[in-house]
């Protein structure tokens, strides 16, 4: 466990804090940052219990998958015409979860939003593990999962290549690129922090592992100069990438002539939904972490407030997209579209649509209240509703469309089986297993970046420096690189 947290200002009356000037008043110096963040790495009984639960869930999922491989995809509840079910829903769900991590780590970095500093490491790790989870589902969905590599273009004895006009091949490129770039981004950001761990570690085995992972990083000015540039460019690449990935995922649907799917609104609608759901998961993860590790003076109420505003904004974008879909169907004059959208809210799957609308459109409106935005308990509860609502959003997109296509004789129904539910549970086990392992091996917050926010020790107060050399040193207390963007280059 971490050391006892110092008192920090819990002011509920600071409404609009300019996020670019975020400071951590309860953090005195660099040593405190090292001590408290590294202190979170000690395993505890509660952590082992959570890890055991996650592994158990994963084992349930693996068992169900093995049963499915043995018995065939029929055990998964697929029933014509609904041949996409929980696996595709959950695939889209986890890809979406990953998006907020990149939003927070890359996009907010480019916009110099200071509140990202304390939460981005968790969000980045969440991204990598969420995309790792998502990547499993198209494979789970295959009848012969061991042939998944046929989607990758490589010279082969079959002399055949993937169909590059197929959205499924687009998916492969987008998801693999996203996984590679987000993992790289996470690791590069971790290198200086791993070097800090290496220098503080006393256990020789762990020290050797950290030494290997830190690649001999020394915190020299040469390393930082190239690091800040590389980090900036990776952020610049990640920003359009995050927008492209969920657009490509949305093409899986939008390219088909199925009512409810064939819409040009899908790419922005999916991207906004992905960021919204990811922010929900960030709250689900970061709020218990800040409480459990007593890191409230790092992830302050101001940070939560700012993130909640983003959540509210994306919720409203998603809500607008929901309503626009109805408007487009109404104005299209296309009776299939109109019938489908009527069926969405009043038909067989109306309950799912109303869960979606309430969780994603109505409940987040509570964030207009500053009191609720600064209430971690409410944010945590709301985040659970958002996670639920966003899973059901994908359910509403997939199942009602397929079960209610053009001809009434084609209409059908769908009911997930215990195999679907077990694999869904297993995906949460897989995700949280990796995340729990991560938070006990590597720092949950970016030590080097937090130090940028903490004013360094100064020998002379600003404005009164008796400089032995005589010239104006231009030293200003507390001026970091403002998020790793150097003056030069």
């Amino acid at each position: 466990m971490a050391t006892a947290a110092p008192q920090y200002p819990q002011s509920g009356q600071r409404p609009n804090i300019p996020s670019a000037t975020v400071r951590l008043p309860a953090v005195a110096d660099y040593e405190q940052v090292d001590r408290e963040i590294i202190g979170t790495l000690r395993p505890t009984l509660g952590w082992f219990a959570l890890l055991g639960t996650a592994v158990l869930c994963l084992l349930i999922g693996i068992s169900a998958w093995m049963y499915q491989i043995y018995s065939g995809l029929g055990v998964a509840g697929y029933h014509p015409p609904v041949m996409w079910g929980v696996y595709i829903i959950t695939f889209v769900f986890w890809v979406g979860i990953g998006h907020a991590g990149t939003l927070i780590s890359a996009i907010l970095y480019l916009f110099r939003a200071g509140f990202r500093t304390s939460i981005y490491r968790c969000a980045e790790a969440m991204t990598v593990f969420a995309v790792m989870t998502a990547g499993l589902f198209p494979i789970l969905h295959l009848g012969r999962p061991w042939k998944f590599f046929w989607l990758i273009p490589y010279p082969n004895w079959r002399l055949i290549w993937p169909q590059f006009k197929s959205p499924l091949v687009w998916d492969v490129f987008a998801i693999l690129t996203y996984l590679t770039v987000s993992s790289t981004f996470l690791y590069i950001g971790l290198i200086p922090d791993i070097a800090t761990l290496r220098d503080r570690e006393t256990n020789p085995v762990r020290k050797a592992i950290y030494a290997a992972l830190s690649l001999g990083w020394r915190n020299s000015d040469r390393e930082w100069r190239h690091f800040t540039r590389a980090y900036l460019f990776l952020a610049a690449f990640s920003t359009p990438l995050v927008l492209s990935v969920h657009s490509v995922v949305s093409f899986d649907f939008a390219m088909a002539l199925v009512p409810g799917w064939h819409a040009t609104i899908f790419p922005p609608y999916f991207v906004a939904g992905a960021i919204f759901s990811g922010l929900g998961m960030v709250f689900t993860i970061i709020i218990p972490i800040r409480k459990y590790f007593r890191l409230q003076h790092y992830v302050t109420l101001n940070d939560l407030d700012a993130a909640a505003k983003m959540c509210l904004f994306t919720s409203m974008v998603v809500g607008l997209a929901y309503l626009t879909e109805f408007q487009v169907a109404w104005m299209s004059g296309n009776k299939f579209e109109q019938e489908y959208f009527w069926n969405r809210v009043f038909g067989q799957w109306a309950w799912a649509a109303w869960i979606m609308l309430i969780c994603n459109m109505v409940l987040p409106l509570s964030l207009f209240s500053q009191r609720l935005r600064r209430n971690p308990s409410w944010l945590f509860i709301l985040s659970l509703f958002i996670n639920l609502g966003m899973w059901f959003e994908r359910f509403v997109i997939v199942v009602p469309s397929l079960s209610h296509e053009f001809e009434p004789w084609q209409w059908g129904s769908y009911a997930p089986t215990w195999v679907d539910y077990s694999i869904l549970l297993g995906s949460f086990g897989w995700f949280f297993m990796w995340f729990l392992l991560f938070i006990k091996q590597l720092p949950v917050m970016a030590i080097a970046e937090l130090k940028e926010v903490v004013p360094p020790k100064m020998r002379h107060a600003h404005g009164a420096a008796p400089h032995p050399g005589g010239s104006d040193p231009q030293v200003t207390g507390g001026e970091g690189t403002g998020g790793r963007a150097p003056r030069t280059a």
């Binding site: 110096d29 660099y30 040593e31 090292d34 273009p153 290549w161 590059f164 006009k165 687009w170 490129f173 987008a174 690129t177 590679t180 770039v181 790289t184 200086p192 800090t196 220098d199 503080r200 690649l215 001999g216 020394r218 915190n219 020299s220 000015d221 040469r222 930082w224 100069r225 190239h226 690091f227 590389a230 460019f233 990776l234 690449f237 990640s238 359009p240 990438l241 492209s244 080097a448 970046e449 130090k451 940028e452 360094p456 020790k457 100064m458 020998r459 032995p468 050399g469 040193p473 231009q474 030293v475 001026e479 970091g480 690189t481 403002g482 790793r484 150097p486 003056r487 030069t488 280059a489």
Partner: protein, 166 residues
């Protein structure tokens, strides 16, 4: 080459020391800092990083490869889909873009490693674990004749420790 390593606990002391060293024509200076600081950069005035060149070349190469592989494979195995051209540049922009990002990012990482000279199997002489904590380190390469001068200068600016390293 031998040199002097000094540890500073205060940022402004380190900055003043660097400025004085440069004024006295000691230009082989390496600074260790737990976090990047503008003040140190101003004092050192380093040249621009060349990472961007690698990023640009990698990105362009990736975009070219992404378009090429899709067009080449489509022509190698020509199947008309949806009455679209065999090589349809609009959907193939997805491959051009994704591979541009992939190769551009990996090139950036390669540049970071190559230019920073990592991975490094052994620590540089003079490195101290305190430099990833709360101290700033200033390493000056100098001859043994001028070592005393450098040591005195660093101490004058408040170095908490000054060591001669061979």
């Amino acid at each position: 080459m031998p040199g002097i390593i000094a540890a500073f606990h205060e940022l402004d002391s380190a900055v003043h020391a660097i400025e004085d060293l440069r004024r006295n024509r000691f230009n082989e200076i390496t600074v260790y800092t737990p976090t990047p600081r503008h003040e140190l950069e101003h004092a050192l005035e380093p040249p621009p990083s060349r990472v961007r060149i690698f990023t640009l070349v990698g990105g362009l190469a990736g975009a070219t490869f992404g378009y090429w592989i899709a067009i080449w494979a489509s022509r190698y195995w020509p199947i008309v889909v949806g009455n679209k051209p065999i090589a349809s540049w609009v959907p193939y922009t997805i491959f051009g873009f994704e591979v541009m990002v992939l190769v551009g990012s990996l090139s950036t990482v390669f540049a970071l490693f190559a230019l920073s000279r990592v991975p490094r199997l052994t620590m540089t002489v003079g490195y101290d674990p305190r430099f990833s904590g709360g101290h700033f380190g200033v390493w000056v390469m100098t001859t043994s004749e001028r070592a005393r001068e450098v040591g005195d200068l660093l101490r004058k600016h408040g170095a908490v420790e000054v060591r001669h390293e061979a």
